[in-house]
């Protein structure tokens, strides 16, 4: 394991940015581990959430933005609920995920593809078109057999329509996306 120069490698600007965007103080964390203890996704994480918090405190930007955990977090907010210091840990995970996306880090490509496809679908149809989402996601990732066994169960229940839902205010939803893009520029 490499030796970390905790002075030179600490990115204070990064810490400030995380704190600003999440409106949380990462200094409040005293590393009790309650977030990790309750997190239902620790089994797939490469870095447990309490260590994510520690790495934020230490300003280890590179390690954090390139980790898988921030993409696998389901935002169930168990960590936020349990934190004795009332830190919104899930929000910090969310901020890190956004930062990673902005800076071009994608440790879990399929998760990003899913989110992109999902939002594209919402933009186009006003709400998600499940069959279209499925087809695009499968095409982008090549995961043809994922959840295939669920098809026969949900098709007869009418849960998976072959046509997009016709909803009112589709154009209004598209406006939201437009405004967001304008804001970003």
């Amino acid at each position: 394991m490499e030796v970390v120069d905790i002075h030179a490698s600490c990115d204070h600007e990064f810490i400030a940015k995380v704190e600003e965007e999440s409106e949380q103080k990462v200094r409040l964390c005293y590393q009790c581990g309650n977030c990790t203890a309750g997190c239902p996704y620790t089994f797939v994480y490469d870095i447990p959430v309490s260590q994510v918090m520690r790495l934020v405190q230490a300003g280890q930007k590179e390690r954090l933005l390139s980790c898988k955990s921030i993409w696998l977090c389901a935002t169930c907010e168990s960590c936020t609920t349990r934190c004795p210091n009332e830190i919104d840990v899930a929000r910090i995970m969310d901020v890190l995920r956004h930062m990673a996306r902005r800076e071009g880090y994608v440790a879990e490509k399929n998760v990003k593809k899913f989110w992109d496809t999902f939002l594209d679908s919402v933009e186009k149809h006003g709400r998600v078109f499940e069959m279209g989402l499925l087809a695009t996601y499968v095409a982008k990732t090549g995961r043809f057999w994922t959840d295939m066994e669920l098809g026969p169960k949900i098709l007869p229940k009418g849960k998976l329509s072959f046509k997009p839902h016709e909803i009112q205010g589709k154009d209004k939803v598209a406006e939201i996306f437009k405004r967001f893009r304008e804001m970003q520029q």
Binding site: C32, G33, C35, A37, C83
Partner: protein, 652 residues
């Protein structure tokens, strides 16, 4: 009037950001000032000698010292001017450290502000009058509230110092929390074996009057002369006749009564003596469970009692006692573990508090010292201890460390291994806090010799699985989630202020913090005094404490009481309110507003007037602010003095 002004540098504390020499120079322009100087440390011996010399050389009538807060050195300088032959109240202090040098960096602005503060102190001093203290008698008896180990120690030390002690205990026996413990850390000696003799001493000491099952109802008076009303609850047993034989307990048919002494692990009889070493060892009937008192039938205890001590129609009584000092030693209570829903405390029978576990370990406990879990009476083989339950947790409003849980958990892990050699213990901890003599060695022993598994992390949930409890937590050092299948879970419940502590504090007129712990007068230098003269603190009522610290504080409080009682007369503080009879219209507003009951209405030639009881008045100034006529004035802080200060500030 001739005034001298002394400006202190306080090393670089003031000198760093205030030009002390310029303050001294500028002060020469103030009216009546005939002498000024700046000095490195005014409070030092040469500094004080300089003040005395200047008073004598210049025949000064009063002195202003511009230095630190009066809370720090006002008494020092008052003694200084007194040594030089002046009245101690012909002295004023300007705070140019806390109010100036420590809070601003601009030397020019600071110096100007220091000059202004010195100027208003001079204006106040010009209107100061010599004041003289009055002497009054002192009642050399002491009231100790709370019969835990701190209160016991304070009572015994005062009694050994030949003073009469009134000890009031809320429960039916003294001993407090310590009496419930099985063993004590770090020596693992039997708790009741070391506490028992002290309890017996309390019972047998001719100087101690013990009121058990009693609470302080009302406190009036002031240091040296407190009048206390004590409400003694009815035990429904004539304690003069009861011999504590325990026959009644054997025959009582109501066996489902709340067992308070055993922390509700199991239940007890409606007529009960909490434990074999109880002091006083007298039976008490719980009226909520007694069949005779609830349904009118039964009365078996009355029939069987060999001394005919049962009195079903006994009533509570109010007792009055006069004392000169009070020691509050009301202890602590445990955090309510059911507040953590994820731990299942209060819902899952095998999730218990550390104090409940003590009763399971204790030979005089409900299981006779055999560890049996509450749900099915089985001996547990895997025991999980969870630390910091209600400590260091802002989300439940308990951000403080309870201090003793790390140690008692280590002790319980050791005792568990002694009781059940083939058991495994796991301790979930955040940090191990063991700063005491032989304390850290003790926690190391739990790990090294007794094989206790310490897991660095918190527990997120506990849920039943079959007849076991699944404990899910984190091991932050391994960086993983961990699980343990436990037979019994012991939560190290933190300490919180005793039930009713704030109400008692209000009766005692002492302050308490936001958690209900009583405030000491100074966190370092006056740890057992309060800001109310004659009221002292001992033990956990001031903040969570272990046994050695509680005992030390009990003795310390007793030392303070004995020092107070070493004087035959006490002097009042002459900074009190005085009524100008000519202006008083007898409206009585001051009488109603006084928090100390220090003003009474008198009749002067058929007209009602207010009169201040000089020994009771604490000089708070409420009456002065209330009086519509300006007839009541606080000596040393008269309206004229305050207005002179304001005028000086506005004209500067």
């Amino acid at each position: 009037m001739k005034i001298g002004v002394f400006v202190c540098h306080c090393g670089s504390n003031i000198g760093g950001t205030v030009d002390a020499a310029r303050v001294a120079e500028a002060s020469r322009e103030f009216p009546d000032v005939v002498f000024t100087s700046d000095t490195m440390y005014a409070c030092s011996e040469p500094g004080q000698d300089g003040i005395i010399q200047a008073i004598k050389d210049n025949q000064l009538d009063g002195v202003v010292v511009s230095s630190c807060t009066p809370r720090m050195h006002e008494p020092t300088f008052r003694r200084t001017v007194e040594r030089a032959g002046l009245n101690r109240f012909m002295f004023e202090m300007a705070n140019i450290r806390e109010h100036v040098s420590w809070i601003g960096k601009d030397k020019e602005a600071n110096t100007n502000k220091a000059i202004e503060l010195t100027g208003i102190a001079v204006e106040k001093l010009r209107r100061d009058q010599p004041l003289f203290a009055k002497q009054f008698d002192i009642n050399k008896r002491v009231l100790v509230i709370g019969g835990g180990v701190a209160g016991i120690q304070a009572a015994l030390d005062c009694a050994d110092g030949d003073r009469e002690v009134v000890l009031v205990e809320r429960e039916s026996t003294i001993g407090g929390k310590m009496a419930k413990l099985d063993k004590t850390f770090p020596t693992v000696d039997c708790s009741s074996c070391i506490l028992g003799p002290k309890m017996v001493d309390v019972a047998q000491h001719p100087k101690i009057q013990l009121y058990a099952m009693a609470e302080v109802e009302e406190i009036g008076g002031y240091v040296g002369n407190y009048e206390v009303k004590i409400r003694r609850k009815a035990p429904y047993v004539n304690w003069d006749l009861c011999t504590g034989c325990g026959l009644c307990m054997e025959k009582c048919p109501s066996k489902k009564s709340t067992d308070r002494f055993n922390e509700q692990v199991g239940s007890t009889t409606a007529i009960n003596i909490p434990f074999p070493q109880a002091i006083p060892k007298k039976a008490v009937i719980d009226p909520k469970f007694c069949i005779k008192l609830t349904k009118g039938k039964c009365g078996i205890c009355a029939k069987i009692c060999p001394t005919k001590a049962i009195v079903f129609d006994q009533r509570e009584e109010i007792i009055s006692e006069s004392v000169g000092a009070i020691v509050a030693a009301t202890g602590y209570d445990l955090f309510d573990i059911s507040k953590y829903g994820e731990y299942g405390g209060g819902r899952l029978p095998d999730v218990i508090t550390g104090l409940q576990y003590e009763r399971l370990l204790s030979a005089s406990g409900p299981t006779g010292g055999h560890v049996k879990r509450p749900s099915d009476g089985k001996e547990p083989k895997t025991i999980v201890f969870v630390q910091c339950v209600g400590s260091r947790d802002k989300s439940v409003d308990r951000p403080y460390c309870s201090g003793f849980c790390c140690m008692y958990t280590a002790k319980q892990a050791i005792l568990t291994k002694d009781h059940i050699p083939d058991s495994s213990s796991y301790v979930f901890y955040m940090d191990i806090r063991s700063p005491g003599k032989m304390y850290d060695e003790f926690t190391r022993r739990a790990m090294e010799e007794y094989g206790t598994q310490y897991v660095r992390g918190r527990v997120s949930m506990i849920y039943p699985q079959g007849d076991k409890l699944m404990v899910r937590g984190a091991d932050t050092l391994m960086g993983t989630q961990v699980e343990v299948e436990a037979d019994l879970v012991v939560l190290a419940a933190g300490a919180e202020a005793a039930v009713g502590a704030p109400q008692l504090a209000e009766k005692l007129r002492i302050s308490y913090d936001k958690y209900g712990f009583f405030m000491e007068s100074h966190p370092k230098l006056r740890p057992v005094e309060t800001n109310t003269a004659g009221v002292y603190l001992a033990g956990s009522c001031q903040g969570p404490k272990d046994i050695p610290a509680s005992v030390a504080q009990g003795s310390a409080a007793a030392a303070k009481v004995l020092a107070l009682f070493a004087k035959d007369k006490l002097e009042n503080d002459p900074m009190i309110s005085l009524v100008d009879m000519k202006r008083c219209v007898g409206c009585g507003k001051c009488v109603r507003v006084c928090p100390f009951g220090a003003i009474k209405e008198i009749d002067v030639r058929g007209e009602p007037k207010a009169e201040v009881i000089e020994t009771v008045c604490q000089g708070c100034g409420l009456c002065t602010a209330t009086c519509p006529q300006g007839a009541i004035q606080l000596s040393h802080f008269t309206d004229n003095q305050i207005l002179a200060e304001v005028n000086a500030l506005c004209q500067l």
